[in-house]
């Protein structure tokens, strides 16, 4: 089934929004406007985009420390995200969470997560809720190659398999967990091989090809919705930036490797396809970018101008009274 033009444009827009958002964050971080650390998604946009393009607002996702892309792809609001990254009271979490802890329960976003392997068990729980209530909702768990070594991830996949929970485990294999190359942290060729331990399908896809990701996700999500249980979908990709901003990312990766992967950048690749397929013209692309740029500029201004939380906010939101 060919992908509708509208979906293609939506995906292009999402990818560009992520790229431009992250580029903006990078600049703002360099300008010392953002406290703490940020983990950028540049280079991996096709994964979140392709996967989330198959989801509904009522579906759930769990995210990671590298969450901006997931959140934007699931519909996260640029303004609220930027304000949160700045630590402002108007942000998604009133400034209490920051980059690593943005959530939007109304959009089914159960939060970025500072704990590697923290998300998978939560995703199993969200999927359980959908199954329990008898909706055909699905949960998607994003996690990295590094996170695929964490015991909690295995437990979640096993439980999901046992109960045929509607969850898709989307592994973003960018080949590194911080400085550790996946070649040294696992002895399988593909993270997807790990599906065999749980009796679920393991699928490998080119994570820099948004169409391939989308198509694989459609299948996995369909399976989940139909009650056929979880899938482990591995998307091979690469992060262009360091682990965090501030890390040049070159102490453990060769310049050649980085350059080679930059040539496989998912965005120009998709652009070319869209232009060749006449889905978009250069001009419409430009106008999309302008719209995003405007949204980002407005978001930045909003974030900049927003107040920091007040002292009296410190101990609120700990409990529901």
């Amino acid at each position: 089934m060919p992908i509708p033009k509208k979906k293609m444009i939506e995906m292009y827009t999402t990818m560009m929004k992520i790229r431009m958002f992250e580029t903006k964050v990078s600049e703002l971080f360099a300008a010392n406007k953002i406290p703490g650390v940020v983990h950028l998604y540049i280079g991996e946009e096709a994964v979140a985009t392709g996967v989330c393009a198959t989801l509904r607002d009522t579906d759930y996702i769990t995210s990671t420390h590298r969450g901006h892309g997931h959140l934007l792809a699931k519909g996260g609001d640029v303004k609220l995200m930027l304000a949160e990254v700045f630590g402002k009271k108007t942000g998604y979490c009133k400034g209490k969470g920051g980059s690593m802890h943005i959530a939007d329960i109304d959009l089914g976003i159960l939060g970025a997560n500072g704990i590697v392997g923290g998300g998978p068990p939560l995703a199993a729980g969200a999927a359980l809720a959908a199954q329990y209530k008898g909706t055909d909702g699905v949960a998607v768990c994003f996690f990295g190659d590094g996170a695929s070594n964490q015991g909690t991830t295995h437990e979640a996949m096993n439980l999901a398999a046992c109960w045929k929970l509607p969850v898709v485990f989307v592994n973003e294999n960018n080949m590194y967990g911080l400085s550790s190359c996946a070649l040294n942290t696992m002895c399988v060729a593909d993270v997807a091989d790990r599906a065999a331990a749980f009796g679920i399908p393991g699928v490998v896809v080119d994570g820099n090809d948004v169409i391939a990701v989308y198509e694989a996700a459609v299948e996995a999500v369909k399976r989940a919705r139909k009650g056929q249980g979880p899938t482990l979908l591995e998307c091979k990709t690469y992060r262009h930036r360091g682990h965090t901003e501030g890390d040049p990312g070159t102490a453990y990766r060769s310049k050649e490797e980085i350059e080679e992967w930059k040539k496989k950048d998912p965005i120009p690749r998709f652009e070319k396809r869209l232009l060749q397929g006449k889905v978009l013209t250069k001009q419409t692309m430009e106008s999309i970018l302008t719209t995003i740029a405007n949204e980002l500029a407005a978001g930045e201004q909003f974030a900049e101008e927003s107040p920091y939380p007040e002292t009296s906010d410190l101990t609120t939101d700990v409990y529901v009274d």
């Binding site: 939560l122 729980g125 909690t152």
Partner: protein, 325 residues
């Protein structure tokens, strides 16, 4: 009022809440057909089926995570960790996820879940099946910590816990399961943060938790014979802690002994003592004493385990020390 034991009272609470709210479900190891290792959930699977009484693999992080995730999405899980000692393989899901999500997300998420678990020594279960660890949970903002001492309290507090919109750690001392007491029929709740004065007295305040409440009550009877009138305060929930009731009692008696089963050093009693030393110092006649386990793992041999657990004698001795100055 009917008499039932502690385990039955808990089951009663679970049944009432499961009948009342279809979103309440149980999840844990051997909670289904087996009915929990202490028989607590016996029969519930027959009434509510496998959907609502869910046996899991041995995979505690997934159990708690599934509870947290489903609670975030509208269910009200009552998860079980068979022995609280096992929490170490899964603590992240409890303290970094369940407890902090609401705060980290700016108040925009609600995690209404209960984590039930058996705690305490006295069954020869040795170092990895006998701990209490309530001090750890107290130290985590975002958690409620409940530690009942009687069947009636257990039932009412568990119903409150299930209806509460916060993650609650509910610790059940395994040697209490067979203890009996009168338990009101039907549904009732006991508010969190409300200590119960299990015995009124005027000479000395004893704050005791869980099984130690009963030891303290026995000790108090014996002390009464010596003319010492002990007031026993059972906090029932350690977080929130009912500081006022404790302080009021100390203001009346001017003397304080704290009794708990977990290790004394950095245990729950430390917070209670510190709180009183700050807020009622001027009312105190003398040192605050803690009667609690020594600084060692729970031993296996009965001769050692008995010595490990605070005894009536040690409570009596502690009270006398404090009273006689």
């Amino acid at each position: 009022m009917p008499t039932m034991n502690f385990a039955e009272a808990i089951r009663d609470a679970l049944r009432i809440e499961m009948e009342r709210d279809p979103n309440v479900y149980l999840i844990g190891e051997d909670v289904g057909t087996f009915g929990n290792v202490f028989g607590v959930t016996k029969g519930l699977i027959d009434q509510f089926g496998e959907k609502r009484v869910r046996d899991t693999p041995i995979t505690e992080s997934a159990i708690i995570g599934a509870a947290v995730g489903s609670a975030a999405c509208g269910l009200r899980p009552v998860a079980e960790i068979m022995y609280i000692d096992f929490i170490g393989v899964a603590l992240d899901q409890l303290y970094n996820q369940a407890a902090k999500m609401r705060y980290m997300f700016g108040g925009k998420i609600t995690i209404p879940m209960v984590l039930r678990s058996a705690c305490g020594a006295g069954r020869g279960s040795a170092a990895q099946h006998s701990q209490s660890l309530e001090a750890w949970f107290m130290h985590v903002p975002g958690l409620r910590v409940v530690m009942p001492s009687t069947p009636a309290d257990a039932k009412g507090l568990l119903i409150t816990a299930i209806r509460d919109d916060n993650p609650v750690v509910f610790l059940e001392h395994k040697l209490l399961y067979n203890t009996k007491g009168e338990v009101p029929e039907g549904e009732y709740t006991i508010p969190f943060g409300q200590a119960d004065i299990k015995r009124e007295g005027k000479d000395v305040t004893v704050v005791a938790t869980a099984r130690m409440v009963h030891y303290a009550l026995n000790a108090a009877e014996k002390l009464a014979a010596d003319g010492i009138d002990v007031e026993i305060v059972d906090p029932r929930t350690l977080s929130p802690l009912d500081e006022d009731t404790i302080l009021d009692s100390v203001k009346k008696t001017h003397k304080l002994v704290i009794v708990h089963e977990e290790v004394k050093f950095a245990g729950s009693g430390a917070e209670i003592a510190a709180m009183v030393a700050e807020k009622a110092f001027d009312y105190l006649d003398g040192p605050i004493l803690r009667v609690a386990a020594p600084f060692c793992p729970v031993p296996f041999a009965p001769s050692l385990e008995t010595e490990f657990i605070p005894s009536e004698e040690k409570i009596i001795e502690g009270v006398k020390t404090v009273v006689q100055g």
